[in-house]
């Protein structure tokens, strides 16, 4: 059986997998990291989004073997050791950006990538388009958009420059 060596949330693992093992199966079933969800089998819902070498990807549409040598961050890797939430998690909590919570891990991982890759700022429309790959059946998205906007200044350590 082939094996894959990768770093997940800072810890290195070597795991035996099959060719067909998906990254999300490796995370959930082999490493017990069940925070990453599976909501569809059509690569559309985004419940499975993780960071692969710093960018957000759908872990249900990535083979475990494609992640050999990579660094992966999942929802479990965000909070500090003492339990302090990541600013994006805190913003979701503050803004009531979740109801059932099923979409939340993927939503948070996508949102962090979106904020970090937009140092010049994010408009409401940028946020809505940036989260097109994440479906939520509960919230109506509005509070999620508010949470992402609220997390931007915290994550960048400065206020957004006013639009010209």
């Amino acid at each position: 059986m082939p094996s894959v060596t990768l770093t997940v949330n800072g810890k290195t693992h070597t795991v035996e997998v099959e060719g067909r093992t998906l990254l999300v199966e490796l995370l959930r079933e082999k490493l017990g990291l069940t925070g990453t969800h599976v909501g569809c089998d059509t690569s559309q819902c985004g419940a499975c989004v993780v960071h692969l070498n710093g960018t957000s990807v759908k872990s249900c549409t990535t083979l475990a073997l494609q992640a050999d040598g990579a660094s992966v961050v999942t929802i479990e890797g965000l909070a500090a050791a003492d339990g302090t939430l990541h600013p994006m998690q805190e913003a979701f909590r503050e803004n009531h950006a979740l109801q059932c919570g099923f979409c939340t891990p993927g939503m948070v991982m996508s949102a962090i990538d979106l904020v970090m890759s937009h140092p010049q700022g994010l408009s409401e429309s940028d946020i809505r388009h940036g989260l097109e790959g994440n479906l939520c059946r509960c919230t109506g998205y509005h509070n999620i958009v508010k949470a992402v906007a609220a997390a931007w200044p915290v994550m960048h350590g400065r206020e957004l420059a006013p639009a010209e």
Partner: protein, 263 residues
């Protein structure tokens, strides 16, 4: 998903040989089409050959051409300042494919090899009159597309890069299916000194096609009004739960007018 062997060669020749010595072996690029297909058990490869370590990504721009490596992601094309300057319509097209996470993995080579009748890139390649470079030859756009999910690629042939001539003006307009994000109708219009080319995706049963009547009218006069009287026959267009053939025929006119206005 059925199981398969996985290989990640580091040289093009090794990848070609892995694919040609076993006719049940399949190439893997970004996996954004192929992995969903495998999940649905629509394909049963013995071996999956990952193309990601062959050095096939990157963008080269000259005053007259844009060349994009097969493994370059949609996100990298969308964000490339060089592509945005040389052929803004191409960067814009890439920025509208799927969603952000799909664009982080999906590649131009995978999209063109797959030739989904609703995919975006085929319309750019055909309208710009580009060429596909493979491990063994170059193929002109007009010879490349051979019906939906069918191309001139031979078994085991690997796309290495795609070259687009820089047009005077161009635009892509997509009426997207809000659920799948693919084109229900997508129109790529490109104006060159030698004339205008118009390619339509998402609409026809045979996949992407050139619209001869629009091209003739627009080559004479590149204005929205030039195509006002031209209707598109619905005979060979797709009818499905998303849109009837007649509606798609109508959308072809509307999206082409928008593309001319945006070019």
């Amino acid at each position: 998903m059925y199981d398969f062997a996985y290989e990640k060669p580091t040289a093009l020749a090794a990848a070609v040989s892995a694919l040609t010595t076993d006719d049940e072996a399949k190439a893997l690029a970004g996996g954004q089409t192929f992995i969903p297909v495998l999940k649905q058990r629509l394909n049963k490869p013995t071996k999956v050959v990952d193309l990601s370590s062959l050095g096939l990504s990157g963008i080269t721009v000259t005053p007259s051409t844009v060349t994009i490596g097969a493994m370059t992601t949609h996100g990298d094309v969308a964000n490339s300042v060089d592509v945005q300057k040389a052929i803004p319509a191409l960067a814009n097209l890439a920025s509208m494919i799927g969603d952000w996470q799909v664009r982080h993995r999906g590649t131009i080579g995978g999209s063109l090899a797959n030739n989904d009748p609703s995919a975006c890139y085929p319309s750019a390649l055909l309208a710009l009159g580009g060429t596909v470079t493979t491990d063994r030859r170059t193929i002109a756009a007009d010879d490349y597309f051979q019906g939906m999910f069918t191309t001139a690629l031979e078994p085991g042939e690997i796309i290495t890069s795609v070259t687009f001539p820089v047009p005077e003006r161009a635009a892509y307009q997509k009426f997207r299916n809000p659920a799948s994000r693919y084109a229900m109708v997508g129109v790529f219009v490109a104006k060159f000194a030698s004339g205008v080319r118009v390619a339509i995706t998402g609409a026809a049963q045979g996949g992407v096609f050139r619209h001869a009547a629009f091209e003739a009218a627009l080559s004479a006069n590149f204005l929205v009004d030039a195509i006002a009287g031209i209707t598109t026959p619905a005979d060979d267009l797709n009818s499905d739960i998303h849109a009837s053939a007649a509606y798609r025929a109508h959308l072809i006119g509307v999206m082409t007018k928008r593309a001319i206005a945006a070019a």
